[in-house]
Amino acid sequence: MKKILEVDNVSISFGGLLAVNQVSLHQNKGEILALIGPNGAGKTTLFNLLTGVYQPTSGKIIFAGEEINHYKPHERVKKGIARTFQNIRLFPTMTVLENVLIAHPDCNSETVIPAVFGRKKLAQRRRTVVEECEEILSIVGLQDKLEELATNLPYGKQRLLEIARALATKPSLLLLDEPGAGMNSVEKEELTNLIYYISREMEKDVLLIEHDMKFVMNISERIIVLDHGEKIAEGNAQEIQSNPKVIEAYLGRGNFDDEE
């Protein structure tokens, strides 16, 4: 199996706190990989390392065969890594469609002179962008909300819009930070189907952080467990559920659902 992403002995410390300690992991092409762990385990920090928000203190991040440590966040997007945020970060005064449009590489790479004085060619280019973005929005089920302001959407729909916005950047790897947080069980089922669709039909690799164990066990092909910044286990759902270290760190404190 081809490795799309490799994290090689990556550490980061903030002052005296080792938030991520010597973590190595990899993601295979076409796989849905889940990252779990108790609060403060370093999951989101790892996402921030992958997307370039933080620079690792040591270690290497390799994406599509290339070391990407020195790339800035916006350059990593161009390389094909897109993400969503745990605490939703949409552009509140922009509409649903605009939130997705501006993520499209053909829209946010416009330059001043053609944008101001362009005519037919520009119009044609924009028409394609708008069509593609409308299509992405219909995949996540927001095709009826194009004109709404992003901030007026219900919480669950805002999460879907973040996924649509990430997809508009045309990524090959999609990082989802707690995509199901705050969703009810119906919405979660729809989300499961959406993630399957993104993985199987759109052929994107998906790496997700999630607290809802049922959801994680259901959707992911492989699970990596972090605790106190260290990787403590790796495997499929059954292996993780029976791993004594995981039970001690995570599940031993109660049942599967106590995080929700």
């Binding site: 997307t51 370039g52 928000v53 800035k72 966040p73 916006h74 997007v77 161009k78 897109a82 993400r83 945020f85 970060r89 949409l90 552009f91 509140p92 005064t93 922009m94 509409t95 469609l97 605009e98 449009l101 501006i102 993520a103 590489p105 053909d106 829209c107 946010n108 790479s109 416009e110 330059t111 001043v112 944008a115 101001v116 004085f117 037919k120 520009l122 119009a123 924009r126 028409r127 962008v129 708008v130 194009l146 004109e147 916005r165 990430a166 508009a168 950047t169």
Partner: protein, 328 residues
Amino acid sequence: MIQLKLSKNILKLIGAVVLLLLPLLVTNSYFIHIFISIGLYIILSLSLNLVTGFTGQLALGHAAFYGIGAYTSALLLLRFNVSYWLALVLSAVITGIFGFLLGLPALRLKGDYLGIVTLGFGEIVRLVFVNWYSLTRGPLGLPGIPAPKIGPYIFDSRIPFYYLIFGLAAFTVFFMHRLVNSGVGMAMITVKEDEIAAESIGIYPIKYKLLAFSLGAAFAGIAGSFYASYISFISPDTFLYMDSVTILAMVVLGGLGSIPGSIIGATVLVIVPELLRFMTNYRMLLYGALMVFMMIYRPQGFWGANKRVRNSYKIGIRGVSNEKDIRG
């Protein structure tokens, strides 16, 4: 909806015709001067709105760019005898470069801190005008700046200046309108709203901050160049901190991040002090009270960004139906 659009266009057409015929309708030279000032301040407030309203960078030194444009144009005309039109373009370019240079240190700062740096920049520029005697004649200023010429025709009254500022302001409105409704403008708005989210979709905030500073400065430079030739005399007194604040007040009062807002803000803040002239010493008091009142009861401004045409990216594209997209 189509009818609504049609009537909107007719209104625009009537407005344009009235504005074009204005010098024939109003013969009082004082009124023409007021109209010219409005045009000038529309350019200045729109240029600052790009930086502060759309890109979200607080700038308190905009009068410095206005001044740099005016001095550049005046010096080119007086020392090098270039044509006015070349001076106009060059002052836009040179002021744009100064905007870029101010943008560089400003990138590390946000909000109030950026405000202080731009304020300092404005003061430094004014002090350079005052103290670089050999170039600017200091507080004595530069008199006798020649009027623009088209072939043998010299701009010898306020009417040709009115048409010139009308053209420049119309160009500024067109440019800003197209820009903010493009991918470039939307990227600027994302930088204002959330830089981390902007980076997560492939936008480099630094690029758009520099672009906003450069373009904003360039348009202020155009306004300065016009002013120099219109008044034919410039001195450091015209480009004070007070003027930066007035321009910022126009942007905020009109509505941050709104083009009609800046136009309304500039118009109101040019006219109101003139209307209050009969009150002599009390007029600035009332002017201040009006602003306080406005910020309490209408903090979003006369025409806030919330009236922005929704999904404006499509507008202006032929062949794409945008009837359903036009709201408010």
